[in-house]
C-alpha cells in the first residue's frame, strides 16, 4: 500500500520536472541529437578514466560511486518546494560536483539520465547526449568552478556552496535553452529570438528552483559537516588527486 502511494505520488510529481530539465524523447532533430552525443562523449570518456584511476587507487570507491549515482537518482525523484509555491526536483548536480568533482559527475549523471529515461520516462535515448551535456557536463563544471573560485577568494563556505549549486542549476537551464534555440531558431529573428523565448520561459520557472536547490545543498553540506565530519572529509578527499591532475 505504501509502495502504491509512493508510486502514485511520484506520478503526480513527474510531469512537473519534465518541463524543466530533460529534453523529451524525440524532441531534437537527428542532426542536433547526434551533435550533442558527440559533444558529451569526450567528457564521459574523461570521467571514466578518472573513475578508473580513483578505483585503482581505492577499490572501495566503486561501491561508493554506485551509491552516489543511486542517491542522485532518488534525489531527483523527490519533491522540492520552490519559493513561488510550485514544486520541482533537486538535481543534486551541485552537490555531486562539490563532493566528487565534475568529471566523475559526467559519468554518474549520464547513467542516472539513462535510468530516468528507462524507469521514469524522463528525457530519452535520442536526447541522452543533449541532456548529458546540459545536466552532467555543463552544470557540474560550473558548480565546481564556482565552488573552488569562491573558496580560493576566501568567501564563506555557505556562500560557495549556495552559489555553486544554484549557478550550476541555472547554467543547466541556460544550456538547455541554448540547445533548444539552436535546434529550433525562430522564424523571424533566428537563433537569438528563439534563445530569448526559451530563456524567458525557463527564467520564470527555474530561478526560484535554483534558489531552492542552493538552499537545500547548503543544508545538506551543513548537516553532513556537523553530523559526520569524518565521512565528509573522506568524501571530499576523494577527488583531490584528480583535481590536481587536471
Amino acid at each position: 500500500m505504501r509502495r502504491m502511494l509512493f508510486i502514485a505520488a511520484m506520478m503526480l510529481w513527474i510531469p512537473r520536472t519534465a518541463l524543466a530539465m530533460h529534453i523529451a524523447e524525440g524532441y531534437l532533430p537527428l542532426k542536433w541529437a547526434l551533435l550533442w552525443d558527440l559533444l558529451a562523449l569526450p567528457f564521459v570518456i574523461l570521467g571514466l578514466y578518472s573513475i578508473r584511476r580513483l578505483v585503482d587507487a581505492n577499490p572501495r570507491l566503486k561501491m561508493l560511486l554506485g551509491f552516489a549515482g543511486a542517491f542522485a537518482f532518488v534525489l531527483s525523484a523527490l519533491k522540492l518546494p520552490s519559493v513561488t509555491g510550485s514544486c520541482s526536483h533537486p538535481t543534486g548536480v551541485g552537490l555531486g560536483a562539490i563532493i566528487f568533482g565534475p568529471w566523475v559527475m559526467s559519468v554518474l549523471g549520464m547513467i542516472v539520465l539513462i535510468f530516468q529515461a528507462l524507469l521514469l520516462a524522463h528525457g530519452g535515448i535520442t536526447t541522452l547526449g543533449a541532456n548529458t551535456f546540459s545536466m552532467a557536463v555543463a552544470g557540474p563544471i560550473a558548480s565546481y568552478l564556482v565552488y573552488r573560485g569562491i573558496n580560493k577568494l576566501g568567501g564563506p563556505k555557505w556562500l560557495s556552496v549556495f552559489l555553486a549549486a544554484s549557478l550550476g542549476d541555472l547554467l543547466t537551464y541556460v544550456t538547455t535553452s541554448l540547445q533548444l534555440a539552436l535546434a529550433f531558431p525562430a522564424n523571424p529573428g533566428g537563433f537569438s529570438a528563439s534563445f530569448l523565448k526559451f530563456m524567458g520561459i525557463f527564467a520564470v520557472t527555474q530561478v526560484p528552483l535554483a534558489i531552492s536547490e542552493g538552499l537545500l545543498t547548503v543544508m545538506v553540506i551543513n548537516l553532513l559537516t556537523s553530523y559526520n565530519e569524518e565521512m565528509l572529509t573522506s568524501l571530499l578527499m576523494v577527488p583531490k588527486e584528480v583535481r590536481h591532475e587536471r
Binding site: F67, L78, I111, V220
Partner: protein, 255 residues
C-alpha cells in the same frame, strides 16, 4: 517503480533483449523522417505491440504517454508564438505597441511535426522500457563491448537505487506524518535532513558492501551470471518487415 515491474512481468520478457533493442532503435531511426503520418503509425504500432503482444494494459500505456506532455506542450507553445513583422499573414495575431506577436501557419506546422515525432519516439522508448529489464539491456551492451567499468557502475546504481528508494520513501512518510512538509520553509528543512541522512546511509552501506564483498574474495570485478536467450529468426524477420513498411508509408505520403 511501475515501468520496472512490467519489464519483469510482461509477456515479451523471454524474447532476446538484442531483438527488442533493435526494434526500438530501428523504429526511432525511421521516426526521424519528418512525416506526421509515419509518426502516428509508429505510435499505433508500438501501442499495439505493447498491449497485445507484451500484455501491458492500454490504460497504463496511454497514461504514460502523458508524462512528457508538459515539456512538449510548453516547448511547442514557445516555438509557435513569434514576433512577426507587420503585414505578414498570421493565423492569430496580437498587436502590441512596438511589434506584433502571433502564430503563423508555418510555425504551427513545425510544432505539430515536433509533437508527433516526440510521441512516436516516446512510444519506442516505452516499448523498450516496458519489455526489457535494465539488466538485460546491460547484458546486450556488454556484448557490444561497452567499457566494463561503465556497465559495472550501471549495475551497482541500478541495485542501490531500490535500496535508497525504499529508505527515502520511509523517511519521507515519517517526516510528512509529523507535518514536515507543511510549508515551504519546513519542506526545505525536512528535505535537507532527508538528503543528508540518505547520503550518510549510502556511504555506510557502500562501506559494508565492500567489506562483505572482500570477505568473499572480491578482486575488483563483479562477476554475475547472465541469462541466455534464443535468437528468433522469425522476430528479426518481423522487425525488418515492420521497418520496411514504415519506410514505404513515409515514401508514399511524403511531402
Amino acid at each position: 517503480m511501475l515501468i520496472d515491474n512490467y519489464a519483469y512481468l510482461n509477456k515479451l520478457k523471454d524474447v532476446h533483449p538484442a531483438e527488442k533493442l533493435l526494434f526500438a532503435l530501428a523504429t526511432m531511426a525511421v521516426g526521424f523522417i519528418p512525416n506526421a503520418l509515419l509518426n502516428l503509425a509508429i505510435v499505433l504500432m508500438m501501442g499495439t505491440v505493447l498491449v497485445f503482444k507484451a500484455g501491458i494494459p492500454a490504460r497504463i500505456f496511454l497514461k504514460m504517454l502523458l508524462i512528457p506532455f508538459s515539456f512538449i506542450i510548453i516547448g511547442m507553445l514557445t516555438m509557435m508564438v513569434n514576433v512577426i513583422p507587420a503585414g505578414s499573414n498570421a493565423l492569430i495575431k496580437l498587436s502590441l505597441p512596438d511589434f506584433n506577436v502571433g502564430i503563423t501557419l508555418e510555425s504551427m506546422k513545425m510544432s505539430g511535426l515536433l509533437f508527433s515525432r516526440s510521441m512516436a519516439m516516446v512510444s519506442c522508448l516505452y516499448f523498450l522500457a516496458f519489455t526489457t529489464p535494465v539488466m538485460d539491456i546491460v547484458a546486450v551492451l556488454r556484448s557490444m563491448k561497452v567499457p566494463v567499468l561503465l556497465l559495472e557502475l550501471m549495475e551497482l546504481i541500478y541495485r542501490f537505487l531500490f535500496v535508497l528508494m525504499e529508505t527515502s520513501e520511509k523517511i519521507y512518510i515519517s517526516q510528512a506524518s509529523r507535518l514536515g512538509y507543511i510549508n515551504a520553509k519546513t519542506s526545505v528543512h525536512s528535505l535537507g535532513r532527508l538528503a543528508s541522512s540518505l547520503l550518510v546511509k549510502s556511504w555506510r552501506d557502500s562501506e559494508s558492501l565492500y567489506i562483505s564483498l572482500e570477505a568473499r574474495g572480491y578482486d575488483g570485478e563483479l562477476r554475475v551470471l547472465t541469462r541466455s536467450f534464443p535468437i528468433s529468426q522469425r522476430n528479426i524477420f518481423f522487425i525488418v518487415l515492420a521497418e520496411f513498411l514504415l519506410l514505404i508509408l513515409a515514401w508514399l505520403f511524403r511531402g
